[in-house]
Symmetry: C2
Subunit: 386 residues, 2 copies
């Protein structure tokens, strides 16, 4: 494709995104059989493609397209957004998976393109990425956990993708930023509009070292339906999605469903069963839709080791009993600090023959665990026998 | 089998349990090819069975068997223990499964019999039973959760099996007792010896409405190895095992492993990832060895609905958005309390054709969600639009 053709293809996609609502399954269906240019021309023309009418709203929008495009471009320029489409070097190829899965919640398909604010090359920033999403009304526990997992991923060189919402999303972005990791925010409205407004400076920080992206044209407002549409991008841009806290009916579970549908790794963090904010995650864990993770190392392990070594076994305290053979441990277990027992008493107590008990008791004295006291045996006070 | 033969078989098993340590895999292996009577006779005779020597400890114990049996019977009589063996009406048949699985942690096989303290018929008490086990050093969270699940099982007519230890075990027994449910304690030492001593009155309460059982002869002390041996009985007596709190290396996980090996339902409750006491459970949940449960209804559901109806869906709050079709909801979402918008403004904002928006706006006014204000539309203040 020549640079001119590519630019024209990029322009077509940008203009089409002003005509058809991004994520509309009808658009996905049309693009499976027609070029974006053909769809755009039909919307601007008679409103019919291959003998079938296009949605009325597309025709209406197409009528005012030039003005809308001018406004969008001006908005983009004013905040430094660039428009990235399939075929561009930095296009994140995994988004293409969205064209091959069924719609969910009335939304479907890969985006026509992404408006990007930020300095990183998007494909490189997202070469290893995990989405962390969750409740807006998160608990202190959930916020801390999201931040810690995000920071751990940042340390491991894995980007954190989220939606910049209050609660878990913001904690995840902040955790990644704190670890000097890359983080990418995917917005439900235009990438030029800080949403929520209170996160304007957070979004500035995200853009400074990562990216703020949206498939919606600049200036587009974030309405409820667009959050669901947006969730599919969060799931598709990451190799796996972690839900940190979610009530039984949280929108974060929608992102998890998308990740599941896309064959990405689906994960959730447990919490107290008494916390409503963990209820949705527990349901997903119980149903098997998500794997349980408790820390960044678990996440990396579940993803098949992107970026880091496998999770270490939790540290375990070894006691004398672990270092002895089963019969020696059994003999040791028959001894008490408070009493002196004969060999026969120990043998009977632990169910060994007298000769076996004698042998093990002698060895335990040599090892410093037991001592002889007259005719009997007693335990030595040691910390590792507690 | 005549009553006399049965009594003699029962006597043989009781006497053999004084000779061979219950749970010894060598005993299990011998009993797969020989009658208990043959093993006992060999231990009391030349110490050889089918050309192979029996363990030296068995021969030593066999030498003092009559005295030991007299002591055991006297102890049993003094606290009202009865000896129950396979073939007895109240023998819990599921224990037989232990003869068909591999040893774990140096222990194996169905018990020779059970010493029982309590008024219930053991097989009936355990016809529907769940084991609840966990950490001794449990947290307040874990204790409350164990008690609540146990009480829920008690309400559903399901018996709670546990080990009477400090922490989760005791909380489980107490939860079942509080709900007037049946509960069964399986001890690592003799059923005549309250263990731990501080639970003497708890064990009295358990025996009063349920049972305190042990495969160990009366008077036998609870040593460390016998807790592991005992755990297999807890797992085998119940249809499923729930671990409520367990550190990474807790003995409660041993009970879960047994339940797994026995093909019982294996379950665990999540907790804060910051709690060491949940670490072992989370590992089991993450590895898939246990299913996540958060309440008694989950447990009943996992067990295939013994005793109760399936868990109800968590209560969810419905909003106006759930009751409307997608385009109507979208239109509604374009309205604001704070501003009055024209039909075209709404249409553009939400990506619908003007005629569609008009139609939905009119319907929303009829439904009481929106109102006309001059040339425009605005939102009605309603609780279900929050």
């Amino acid at each position: 494709m020549s640079p001119a053709t590519r630019r024209s293809e990029s322009d077509v996609r940008r203009r089409l995104s002003l005509v058809a609502e991004p994520g509309d399954p009808r658009l996905r269906d049309l693009l499976q059989h027609h070029e974006p240019g053909a769809v755009l021309r039909a919307a601007q023309g008679r409103g019919v493609l291959a003998g079938r009418p296009l949605p009325a709203a597309w025709q209406e929008r197409a009528a005012g397209l030039d003005d809308a495009d001018t406004v969008a471009l001006a908005r983009a320029e004013s905040v430094g957004l660039r428009w990235v489409v399939p075929g561009d070097d930095e296009w994140p190829e995994p988004l293409g998976d969205l064209d091959h899965v069924e719609p969910l919640g009335g939304t479907a398909g890969a985006p026509l393109g992404l408006w990007v604010r930020g300095t990183v090359r998007l494909d490189e920033a997202l070469s290893a990425a995990v989405a962390i999403v969750g409740a807006r009304a998160a608990t202190t526990y959930g916020l801390g956990l999201a931040g810690e997992i995000a920071a751990g991923l940042g340390d491991a060189g894995v980007a954190v993708v989220s939606g910049a919402a209050f609660g878990i999303d913001a904690a995840a972005h902040r955790g990644a930023l704190a670890a000097r990791g890359t983080t990418v925010a995917v917005l439900a409205g235009g990438a030029d509009l800080p949403y929520p407004r209170a996160h304007a400076s957070l979004l500035d920080l995200i853009a400074a070292g990562g990216a703020v992206v949206s498939e919606q044209p600049p200036g587009q407002v974030a309405i409820r339906a667009r959050f669901l549409t947006r969730n599919r991008l969060i799931a598709a841009l990451a190799g796996g999605t972690v839900v940190v806290e979610a009530a039984a009916r949280s929108g974060s579970l929608n992102t998890l469903h998308w990740a599941d549908r896309l064959g990405r790794t689906t994960m959730g963090t447990p919490g107290p069963v008494t916390s409503q904010m963990s209820e949705g995650v527990h349901l997903a864990l119980r149903s098997g839709e998500a794997e349980l993770v408790t820390r960044a190392d678990d996440v990396l392990e579940s993803l098949g080791g992107i970026g880091a070594e496998p999770a270490p076994e939790p540290v375990r305290r070894t006691t004398a009993y672990d270092r002895l053979g089963p019969d020696a441990a059994r003999t040791l277990d028959g001894l008490r600090w408070s009493e002196t027992l004969t060999t026969d008493q120990v043998a009977r107590r632990v169910g060994l023959a007298g000769s076996q008990a004698q042998e093990h008791l002698t060895a335990l004295v040599d090892a410093g665990y037991a001592e002889r006291l007259g005719d009997g045996w007693t335990l030595v006070r040691r910390a590792d026998l507690a």
